[in-house]
Symmetry: C2
Subunit: 310 residues, 2 copies
């Protein structure tokens, strides 16, 4: 193959992708960033980001996203809204397939397609998604003013969002399958101090019930085996995340058991010239602060690779 | 050993240390951050930070440092100005030795002591440091208004600071030992476009000359072997960085040939409970964005370790 369209093609416009774009653009590499929806990734669904260093009072998710996008564009990264349907690794160039069958060719590719909430996987979940079943408190919380709702999960997001949802809901049941939470102590304290939150430990959801919309849950205590039902008009599911890699043909890249892409510490995948950064990557901690570190490192590693090619 | 003073002791108050402090404090762990001088690390010597995601117009180094410090303190990290003289790993706790011989004991320790400019290593350098020899353009640049000075190096910092120094100096000689620069293309273009900068390629400094203050340099062209002299009243050295690990007894931790501390991807050193983050760590790219990623990961890994201990 003798021609290419871009030095770097970045798939995904969350913090990892935007930081890679910033570095690549600043390095004067011809850079295309592809984003399906709007840039920002999961940050866009975060009401208030308090743990990204540099913002002591916190910052709204949409504002931080916009600031990162402005910065990447200011350094010359081209951002395009389109869905990526596939990746065809080549030698020396790689082809990214877009919606409509269009293809763009890059000397390097950085995959920063992110992650999304995991489904709880019970009857009624798919049927009532958008009709009472939600995965984003920031997006849908205000729909449940003065209603009784449930939150499923026990990690940081479940705890934070249970508290957040009490701004709207009259009552929030927090349903957790174990007898203690995984989430940070700070959030545990806030949950315990909140009168609007009732915690239901050792319990799993077996079915989401409803007619046109959600009307309740069928629950089961995992220690006693006792089943029960709970009347709610909404349920928010926060049981972890899964990588967004459905567009990637299985077997092309080395992935872990959950589908997260394996890289070395320089963000290189098993295919030369293809990198992964941010939440889509197999790693310990998925945060904005680690995503920007990944994005900068991936772009720098790709620059080094390009310089070694000629 | 049965008692400890802190859950986490963080050594160093640059972006990596402050981010670790933010996460540890936010996680409700009793956290002490130790900083010899003022928090901010090398960021404090950076006039204008343009590549930390979230600040599209850039941000002054001292302002970004202060914002990160405020955020760490807001979440409860205790910050103390004192010099660390040593580390005594123990089981299960670790002792940090402070100036005056005081000792503090931590269940975990995160080393984020950073890096500092490397010396060029020629006669006159130590003698005239502070008398014409400098390592921080932001700090000392304004002393050379309308004078003729030299910059030694060819990487990002050398190029950026050569341009920065033309705000003050009448003429800046940029002395580089090779025939092309290592630094980013963006900075190369700015250097080449600047009339006040004269580039001297293929040349090394052999001696820094002076009486009370610097008066000139003795140079040697590495290709022709020809020696020459250059009249300057100041010289800024930007030839790379070295880890700040002089306080650490050699052999305690696994370090690379330059002294950078080796860790795994979770920032763990070879001693359980001791982590390293930021510029002091052996890694590909030393930037604020990678430092904050390291700091968050180190604190999270330390939290996991603490939770597994009881």
């Amino acid at each position: 193959m003798s021609s290419y369209d871009y030095d770097m093609i970045i798939i995904g416009g969350g913090p990892a992708g935007l930081t890679a774009g910033l570095y690549a653009g600043r390095g004067r590499f011809k850079t295309l960033l592809l984003e399906k929806l709007i840039t920002g990734g999961q940050v866009m669904t975060t009401d208030h980001v308090d743990n990204y260093p540099g913002f002591p009072e916190g910052v709204a998710g949409y504002e931080l996203s916009q600031r990162m996008r402005d910065q990447a564009e200011r350094f010359g990264a081209e951002i395009r809204s389109t869905e990526v349907l596939g990746l065809k690794p080549g030698n020396p160039y790689h082809t990214v397939v877009l919606e409509g069958g269009e293809e763009v060719v890059g000397r390097t590719v950085i995959i920063a397609s992110g992650a999304q909430p995991r489904r709880v996987g019970v009857p009624g979940e798919a049927e009532y998604t958008g009709k009472g079943v939600g995965y984003c408190a920031t997006c849908d919380g205000a729909l449940y003013r003065d209603e009784t709702i449930a939150v499923v999960g026990g990690g940081d997001t479940a705890l934070q969002d249970a508290v957040f949802l009490t701004r709207f809901a009259a009552k929030v049941y927090l349903i957790h399958r174990r007898d203690q939470f995984r989430g940070a102590r700070l959030y545990q304290e806030k949950v315990l101090a909140n009168d609007k939150i009732d915690i239901i430990y050792d319990t799993v959801v077996q079915e989401i019930l409803g007619d046109k919309n959600v009307s309740g849950l069928r629950l089961k205590n995992v220690k006693t085996g006792v089943e029960s039902s709970l009347e709610v008009t909404g349920v928010f599911v926060f049981v972890g995340i899964q990588p967004i890699t459905g567009w990637l043909e299985p077997g092309l890249l080395d992935q872990d058991e959950f589908g997260f892409i394996r890289t070395n510490e320089e963000m290189a995948t098993n295919v030369p010239g293809i990198y992964a950064a941010g939440d889509v990557r197999a790693k310990l901690l998925r945060q904005i602060s680690t995503a920007v570190g990944d994005g900068a490192t991936a772009a720098f590693a790709a620059e080094k690779y390009l310089e070694e090619q000629h």
